[in-house]
Symmetry: C2
């Protein structure tokens, strides 16, 4: 949580801010608080209204929603160079949100007070562009989630997900429960489909992780039309 009020090097990650007049940049650097968060920390949750606008420098924040019954679904992820829309939205419209944000890695970010945020929006077209396009991207993400949940088969979505989350070795480090949350389904459903994938020689299963055995086969499944 080190405050480095004078250091403005982080701005290089945001082209929108790079274009600001020097005077603006200095003012911004003066009020911005640089912060670091450990992995697996809850950044925001229902009932905890944020006080700052946040720019992510490094790391990933997962945003998910929890239903009364305990089931969860991942809505989207925020990565370096992006702004956290949920906090922005709370800041700007005083609405409480149902979603929860959790760091997946160590996260470095800068926090900007609301007044400075308003100022930037008013004076910097580039900053406006940044904020609006992040909003738009989140809306697109959410629409994609709706489409997947409402219309796509679980096996297809599961294949997509493990392909997307596999490292270069083809390893995916995730429990069945974690994958179920990604898809907004139940753990048993994931277990059964993975079992079937294994039977078909598409993956090798192990406790807490799995390995892609037939990327092409999985890809075919992931891209199937039906």
């Amino acid at each position: 949580m080190a405050a480095t009020a004078a250091d403005a090097s982080w701005m290089q990650q945001f082209p929108a801010l790079d274009g600001l007049p020097a005077a603006e940049r200095q003012r911004l650097a003066a009020v911005a608080q640089s912060i670091t968060l450990p992995a697996d920390k809850v950044v925001f949750a229902p009932g905890r209204p944020p006080e700052h606008f946040m720019l992510l420098l490094e790391g990933v924040v997962r945003v998910q929603q929890t239903a009364p019954g305990g089931r969860e679904i991942v809505l989207y992820r925020v990565a370096g160079g992006e702004t956290c829309i949920m906090t922005t939205a709370c800041l700007l419209s005083h609405e409480a949100y149902a979603a929860e944000g959790v760091t997946e890695t160590e996260v470095k970010a800068v926090a900007i007070p609301k007044t400075a945020f308003d100022d930037l929006i008013a004076t910097s077209p580039g900053f406006r562009q940044l904020v609006f396009s992040d909003y738009s991207n989140r809306i697109a993400d959410l629409m994609h989630v709706v489409e997947e949940v409402a219309f796509e088969r679980i096996d297809k979505r599961l294949a997509q997900k493990i392909l997307a989350r596999a490292d270069v070795e083809g390893e995916v480090a995730a429990t069945h429960q974690a994958l179920a949350v990604e898809l907004g389904t139940a753990r048993e459903v994931v277990s059964r489909h993975l079992k079937e994938f294994q039977r078909r020689g598409l993956v090798d299963l192990a406790r807490g992780r799995l390995r892609l055995a037939d990327r092409e086969g999985l890809r075919a499944l992931a891209e199937a039309e039906n």
Copy 2:
């Protein structure tokens, strides 16, 4: 499609604009185009990028998503006094969207060119507030849809929907197909549940419409925890 460049009375519907300095208001009135659309007209669709920022004065626009397989789901509705976020988002981030907007009633709106929009955002805190809070509300709507689709039972959602769409007489004018689209499910599923509702004395069914017979019973269903 009458252009009434000099008439600024519509601004009264937007408190955010009412607070603008007189000079700004005049400038805005000069560039705003007042338009009227008939019911059941497609306002925007994938591939048709909009050129104006839109403020709805009267009427309702339904925004929905269509899956490749032909199934559809209603995402949210835009009513008088609100802005059409999809067009805004397209305007601001040059992204193509998968959603489609359709007027449900005759719609009156004003269109503002992108340059005037930029100008307003820069100069009017009230206008900023309007745009950002509409963005936030749409995100909240979408999150609500995700939650419903992923976690709630169809009978509960159907009960909620017909309660919400009933007029004072308790009449709902909608085909089973239309209700299915509201919920993002299949027509047969709606038919079967409505049949069951009828068997339990909750509704009376007729072709193309239905009547609530037991509001309390439906409410109990709609608010059930399971």
